[in-house]
Amino acid sequence: MPKPRITNTLYELSSKTMIKNTIYIISTIIFFALILLPPILGILIKWNTMQDVFNQPKLVSEALNAIAASFAVAFVVSSVDVIFGVPMAWMITRGKSKWLNVLDTLSDIPFIVPTATLGYSLLLFWSEPGGLSSLFGTPFVSPGWLLIILLHFAFSFPVVVRVMVGALLDYKLEYEQASRTLGAAPLTAARTVTFAILKPSVIASFTLAFARSLSETGATMMVAGVFVNGPIFIKNHINETGALVFVSFILIVLSSLVFVTIRLLGSKLRLPVNKVWPMTERKLSTSAVASSRNSVTLLVFFVVVLVPSLFVAIPAFEAVFAGILPEALSGLGLWGDYWQSMALSYLVGTVVTLLNVVIGLPMAIMIGRKKLGNGLSTIIDMLVNIPIIVPSVALGASLAIFWTENFSFIPEIWLLIFAHLSITYPYFVRSMSAAVERINIDLEEAGKTLGAKPLCIFRTITFPLAKYSMLSGAIMMFTRSVSETGATLVVSNLVTAPVLLVNWVKTGVPTMTLGLGCGFLILFSFIILLILRLVARGRRTY
């Protein structure tokens, strides 16, 4: 079948250097103008307000304590994430049971529960009378630092599992087999060879979990009690620009420093691979020890991650039987606002996902193919991460300052979209640029020698090979946008579903109604995720 003329024209255009460069330049400009600079400039514009904070030593000390608490929580959480996430990924990739596929899917659940809902769910499970506390009479874990750690562990655990499952699947098993044939016990082989080679992925998973913990606001607010970390401090002082700017600035600078240090020193970090304890490691490699390790990992996953994350759905079942469902579906009373907020959330999620795919794709290719040379590509690669590490509430506040002070004519919905674009952009570019990097350049060059134009090569070679990663990136963006609470709260007065649920919690809406509201959100996100997964799996993967 002859190609439509328009396709041919586009193919031809894509081979023109000027067009290609223009696309890359526009993509870079959009990245700086829309994604990276507004949150930073928002803070810089109000730089002078920091003076107000320095005049209040008590406030400075509170702010610094909050920041220290943020880093302490993030460090503890991401370390524990790695300790339990790596064995979980190992079990999923190396086990033989068919149930491991189910376990793999279950490990994504905390991704799809909106963070505010997740926070509420954990609160119900650990602290409220209907949860674990009913067994003990008093709150099992009261709101505070321990509950924050449990919460952050629940939502960042899937990040580590996802990254490590991918890394272990890509890993060339022969290295480990070679080690075993040379006499190494399974634990020795894993420690001295597998994880020594996969060190970058372990570091990446730690970094992502660390960043996620540092920046999370929505859910943390629900479980914090009197505990104050960076994002909570910002939320508590949202009307005091100086305090907001001060904490945001320090958080951004410190976290950037941490990540640059990890990036630069991570590759030089020598893991203890030379020293071997053959007898001890042999004893620790027995199947009894492996079974115990798997049991502990599963127990932690179910008790600390999965059940608390889904606990909120239990009142939803009760609500169905109590006859609240018809009322909810008819949109009466509270539910009218609820469905409006749901529509808004999914609309924003869809728009943000589509926009980011369009503006992020050229950037992903630029990074993946090092179009700007090694040095510049690495710098851009690092800059892309920044929006992940800024606390979402600070990012929202900063964006609100930047856009409303300079571009007050911009409608509120666009502020919301811009905020979500910033927050979700790194997830897509990260995932897609890694996928592009993995595709052998020879394949694209083979396409060129056969006469294909760049756009044709992308459509027929690069895209089919990278589509799963593209989909993963899109899923992460979509779920992140739909569940985003912290930035949404401060950037506009529009009420998305997570914001509405936070309001319901604050105003003491009945548990069953709240549970049903959360249940719908989880159910819809789960269905969308499932459809996207089925679409991806229905086609052949390479």
Binding site: T181, L182, A184, P186, I197
Partner: protein
């Protein structure tokens, strides 16, 4: 000492039978090759011996010990992978001394072994080099040195020369054999390259579709192949189809297509039975002109190819069959394209096989 015995070993991957009821005995200090086309199950067989995969049925013995449930680290083997699998985060020295270290040897002993094996592979000067800084040949030597340093008496090599260029490959295959013989090791070498297995092995097992077709010395396999496939896969053969037209004691008369009769020596064939003659190209004598006589056919040179050592002729016979004839290029007088010739057969050098049930083409299929 490590002889290796496999008794009725089967390994399946889903519905695919990779290794099909294989029994095999590899003797102590023997250099043994598993030879077969891609996908025939030879690498699976080697991995079964190494303990990297487990048999569904059957027993594997190393020495006198049943090793079915023994993990690879306790089998006392050295394994050289096709891709070498040198640990990318360790330099040559750390790679080579990895085995002694994980086996708990003291530092001094590990270092002594490291120096010895690196001396053996002549790579002492590249101790600090990382795998990505080494050439293919060097990586291969380090991989062998690493396997030897672990102190194993049984060396398993999975297409160890497959990734090297022809010249390096030729040099290294002699070197590997020399080293294993010097050290008194048993070696099992997987390859799909029949010329490699011929020069390196004491004995070869030819495998097709998970089954062992024949085990023998390179000479036995070449001179006395037991099947059409082996006559085809080991070296080169011409195959001519016909049937047994008469039997006189051990002498059979095979009538080829077009009515030409060839006398051959063979037992166990019945009159009227379909037959395939397997004839090595170098056993055919080709002479100028048409001189019809017993055990000969007339033909025309259809193609000549100069191969350096040999010159190769493709001759179209009078019955339209095509045969290849190979002659030493520096000794014999060259024939010209289109020249009319007589091709003479030597009955004692012809192997006769019953016509295969699945057809000749299927029997010759390599994949």
């Amino acid at each position: 000492m490590p002889d290796v015995r496999l008794v009725n070993v089967t390994k399946k991957y889903g519905k695919i039978v990779a290794v099909d009821n294989v029994s095999l005995h590899i003797y102590d200090k023997e250099y043994f090759s598993l030879l077969g086309p891609s996908g025939c199950g030879k690498t699976t067989l080697l991995r079964l011996i190494a303990g990297l995969v487990h048999p569904d049925e059957g027993e594997i013995y190393i020495g006198n010990k049943l090793v079915n449930d023994v993990p690879p680290e306790d089998r006392d083997i050295g394994f050289v992978f096709q891709t070498f699998a040198l640990f990318p985060h360790m330099n040559a020295w750390d790679n080579v001394t990895y085995g002694p270290r994980v086996k708990g040897f003291n530092v001094k002993k590990a270092e002594t072994i490291g120096h010895e094996v690196l001396e053996m592979v002549k790579l002492h000067q590249r101790l600090d080099a990382y795998p990505n800084e080494l050439s293919g040949g060097m990586m291969q030597r380090i991989a062998v040195a690493r396997a030897l340093a672990a102190g194993a008496q049984l060396l398993l090599l999975d297409e160890p020369l497959g990734q090297l260029d022809a010249k390096v490959r030729n040099d290294l295959r002699y070197e590997i054999r020399r080293m294993t013989k010097d050290l008194g090791l048993t070696a099992i070498h997987v390859t799909h390259d029949q010329s490699e297995s011929m020069v390196i092995s004491d004995r070869i097992a030819v495998i097709k579709r998970g089954r062992i077709l024949q085990v023998g010395s390179p000479k036995e396999l070449y001179m006395a192949p037991k099947s059409i496939f082996i006559a085809h896969f080991i070296g080169e053969s011409n195959f001519l189809e016909g049937y047994v037209s008469s039997i006189n004691g051990k002498q059979l008369t095979i009538e080829l297509r077009g009515g030409t009769e060839i006398k051959v020596i063979q037992q166990n064939m019945r009159k009227g039975e379909g037959a395939v003659l397997a004839i090595r190209p170098e056993t055919l004598v080709v002479e100028k002109g048409r001189k019809k006589k017993r055990n000969s056919m007339l033909g025309i040179i259809q193609r000549t190819t100069f191969e350096g050592t040999n010159i190769r002729y493709e001759v179209k016979l009078e019955n339209q069959d095509l045969v290849v004839v190979v002659k030493p290029s520096m000794i014999e007088e060259w024939l010209n394209l289109g020249e009319k010739v007589t091709v003479n057969f030597s009955p004692e050098k012809i192997r006769v096989f019953a016509y295969p049930e699945a057809g000749l083409r299927e029997e010759l299929t390599v994949e």
